[in-house]
Structure formats: C-alpha cells, structure tokens
Symmetry: C2
Subunit: 319 residues, 2 copies
C-alpha cells in the first residue's frame, strides 16, 4: 500500500571529517521518500522554492515518488548548513534559512486523502496535527519530531503523539521530551499516550523499539566508512515504514522486520554525502546487508537451550 | 576449568543519582571473581591492607573463590571514590588512594601456575606482562586495561595485547589507544597485534566483539533501575571468561555465548550498589534474563528468508 509523507525538501551544505558538499539534496521528506520507495509507492507533500534544481525532482521521479503534492512557491528553497566533528553522532548547525518552508501549508491532493499509511516527518507539530486529521482513515500513522518543537510546542507534540500509531524519536529527544534519563521508563511514558510502538534511534548504537507487545533492540550495522550522518534517521523511517506498508501485517514481527530494514538502509545512507547512496540503492543491496546484520546479531536457531545449559557448574560448588 | 584473575580488591565510595555507599567492596578482581564464580572455580591474586574487612573475604569465600593468592600487607587497602551524574556512563573520580596497591607485586602460588585460563584485570601493564609470562601454559588468556595506562605506558599495553587471546576494552579506551574514531577500524588494529578477539564494551549500549572469525554485537539488557555502574565491565569480563572456561569450546559460537552471559551478569551488577547484586546472583537468575535478552534481540529461526522476501515490490516499479 502507498505511503504519504509530509516533511521538508531542502538543500543541505554539510561538512564532515570526510569532506563537504554544498546545496546538495536533503530534507526529511526527501530521505524518507527515497528509502520508502524501495518498498512501496510514495506520495510526497512538501514545498520548495522556484530555485529548486530539476535534478532533485528527477531523482525523486526516477524512484516513482508521486510529486503532485510538492508545491513550488516563488522564492528560495529551505537551506540548512551543518558541520559534524569527529563525533559523527550530532551536527552543529551553522545556518538555517527557512525561506519558503516558513510558509509551508501542506496541501493534500484530493486522491492522496485515502493513503493508507502516513508518515509525519519532522515539521511544525501544528501542521502534523492538521495533516493527521485530514488523512484520518489511514490504517498506519507514524511521526518524527525534533528538539526545537519539543522545547517550543511540547503540548502540540503531545497531541500528535496521541494521534499516531508509531512515534520515532532519537534518544536525546526522548529524554528531553520525558525529562527522564532511563530510556525504558521514558518510552513507557509515550506508550501511555496511545501509540503502539516507540522507536528510539541511537545513531551509531543502533535502535530499540518499545511496544505494547514487547521490546526489540538491534545494534547498528558496523560500517567502516561513515561519511555523512545527515538523513540517517529519515531514511531509517522510510525503510521502516515502507517495509510495514509493503504488506497488511502490523504484527510485532512485522514491526521488528521494519526495524531491521530501517537499520540497514540508514547504514547505507551514512556512507555517502547527501542522498548519493540511498538514491542508487537497490533491494538486492539491502537484502545482502540484511543477511549480514542477521549474522552479526543473531545466534543459531537451536542455540538458546545450549546457551543456557552449556555452562554446567554445580550449584552446590558455588555456595 | 579454573580461572586465575590478577587485579585489584578495593573499598569504593560511590555516589550516584540513586544514592551513595561508603567503603563498599569493590575492585576489578572482586567483581570479576564473583561473576566468574557462577561458571567455574576462581583463583584470585591481589593485595589488600590489614584493614580489609572480614566480610569482604567471607563474601568471596562463600563463592568458593580461592584466596591463597590474596596477599595481606601491613597498611591500608586501595580506596577509590567516585561520582556518577545523570549520565551514568562515566564516573568522575573524587579520590584515589592506592595504599598497599601501590606496591602490588603479584605472587602466584605454585599450584596456581598451571591454571588454564588467565584474566589480567586492569592493573599496571608491566605486572600484567610479568604474570602472563609466569602462566605461559594457559590455554586462554584475556586482558583489560584503562585510560591511565594507555596514556602512561602505551608500549607496555601493546606488549600485553600481543601476549593474549582476548582484549576487553571499553569504546573510549579503544579510541584512545588507536587514535581512531571508527570502532571497526580501531578493533582491526588490535586484532593485527595477535589477539583472536577484541571485546568492546559500550556501557548502556551493550557490546560488540570483533574476531578473526566474525563480528557479533548485542544491545544491553534494558534495565529500568540502573543504580551504580561500577564493576559492570569487570563482572561482564567475569561472566564472559567464566562461561568460556566452563568448557573446552573456544569456537566463535562459544565466544558469542560468553558475550551474552557477560551482558546479562553486567546488567544485574548495575542494579545495586557495589557487589550487592552480583554476590547474591544465582545461575537461575542469569538463565532467566538470558532468555529475555534472546527474546529482545533475536528473530525467529525461520525468519531470515521471510525477512528479506516479505517486502515484495517489483524492481521495475522503482525505476
């Protein structure tokens, strides 16, 4: 089934220890769309300025992303500039020019309104709330947010959380929102608002999903060439939601499957600047790395019993 | 088979957001011994002052730890005082009094010399080197170290690494030693010195093992009551090495099994101050949590194929 994403399309200038790019394709909805397009058809709702390069549109169209919800306004496209130091886990923002994004007023084309799966990428939570009400028939809704909205519009962020099935959040933002250091305790606070699952993104440490039905954690794929972490979270979300949207299965098993797909696609994203790697990514690449990730994290099927029984040491000898 | 550990036995005063303890039982060899004693018989080589409390000795003896290598010198026992803030991942040292530990000169009792498994806990690498030469017939040798020795005696640390089968190190120290940010690249540098495996401890993020035969990572058990992280790494090492020592299996499978046991035992250690939890721990507790950790990190045996095949989306539709 199709996925509708509402978010940003931007031009990013990024500096990392591996190099730099200027005005490269970026934005939460961009990364999300390219990742999700590996799994299902994607409808994008966003805004760009009339300076937005044709090559950006072409990249998305080549992935069959439906751009009828991409509004082009007179003016400049949203620009972000940031720098990552040796610690690639967080960026220092050097410059933010909202430009036409400041007036973003998502317009959902009529035949997008029945999209069964909705992802609210990181935008003003008031807009997220409006969209989730417009697509009220969606069978699966998910959201992301960021520190800026948590500090400036916490109550609205809470309202959005109450309205969705899945909350994706990074660990620092989860702690900020809940004012709680322990992630399990923090995630439970969000589950109590209504979502079925809280997916906590931990950058190079992988991710964890806290669900009403259980807990699942996966380490990151151990990439040796982390080049630019921008878009890791959004492409994680794209593969996670895309994987879920590719079938009607909403079980705990399907959620965990989505987490593994998200981890793998994010691991490719960070290996190049901008969308360079995710835009060339094929399902065969994902599947190959998924098998590797399984071998890096999974024990043999017959192993659990042996795991426990193998270490025979008589209890009395320990007393 | 038996394990010989050479390390510190100390009295720790620790402050965390959960409370504080004064002059509680601590030290790398203490945590290691108590954890390893769940799996096999342990021989401890360390030094304490004549002020060391009898209850400390009793605790170790009740776990059948062989204390014939524990020297008692006139003077005061090694004392450490530290504080953990909200970020429980690292301690601020408030006070270190080496006392008799400053003259530590490990004396290996004659019948300890043929111990088949040796763990060099964090002590002066020159002493580690001497001990590894004295127990040269050990079939499995492992070491830990710390930032202090890496900056003051890096070359000697390297010599110890060349002499052992397994290096246990936390991620900050691995980066410090290799001057390399990427953990995979950094671990490979150590593997090139000779060890068969490098176990990287990441605190609340779990751990990863880089081996000549593969890579394996496990997230931490998601404890909701982290009280005092002191000794997490040493009790991880105790369970890891103890698990390996409990059989003659040194396969990659056995190493991964050890990592899972280490993770579980460490997760108990941090739930109380000092050795309070690890000293009461039983194998049944470990086994129960091991099953939980498996359910939190493992996918169903028949799942890998489905994981990959389930997301059917025709390739041509993506182009």
């Amino acid at each position: 089934m199709s996925v509708l994403v509402v978010g940003s399309v931007a031009l990013d200038s990024v500096e990392t220890p591996a190099g730099r790019v200027t005005e490269a394709l970026g934005g939460s909805a961009t990364y999300f769309s390219l990742a999700a397009s590996l799994y299902t058809s994607v409808r994008l709702v966003a805004v760009v300025g009339d300076d937005f390069p044709q090559r950006g549109l072409t990249m998305l169209q080549e992935r069959r992303v439906d751009l009828r919800g991409l509004e082009v306004l007179p003016g400049r496209t949203f620009r972000w500039a940031g720098r990552y130091g040796e610690d690639l886990n967080s960026a220092e923002t050097l410059d933010t020019q909202l430009n036409v994004f400041a007036q973003f007023d998502p317009k959902i084309p009529g035949d997008f309104r029945d999209t069964p799966v909705l992802f609210l990428a990181n935008i003003d939570p008031e807009l997220q709330l409006r969209v989730v009400k417009e697509i009220h028939g969606a069978s699966l809704t998910a959201m992301d947010t960021m520190n800026f909205w948590i500090s400036s519009k916490r109550d609205v962020v809470t309202e959005v959380m109450r309205s969705v099935d899945v909350v994706l959040v990074n660990e620092a933002e989860l702690r900020q929102y809940t004012q709680t250091r322990n992630l399990s305790t923090a995630a439970r606070q969000i589950l109590e608002l209504g979502p079925r699952a809280v997916v906590v993104k931990k950058g190079e440490y992988g991710c964890a999903v806290f669900g009403r039905d259980g807990y699942f954690a996966v380490p990151a794929y151990p990439s040796e060439q982390v080049c630019d972490p921008t878009g890791a979270g959004d492409s994680f979300a794209g593969a996670f939601i895309g994987s879920l949207a590719s079938s009607a299965d909403r079980s705990w098993r399907a959620i965990r499957r989505g987490v593994l797909h998200g981890s793998v696609v994010a691991s490719f994203t960070v290996e190049s600047f901008s969308v360079d790697r995710v835009v060339t990514l094929q399902r065969e690449d994902v599947d190959r790395r998924l098998s590797e990730l399984v071998s890096f994290t999974q024990i043999e099927p017959d192993w659990e019993k042996e795991l426990i029984d193998a270490n025979q040491y008589p209890t009395e000898a320990r007393r």
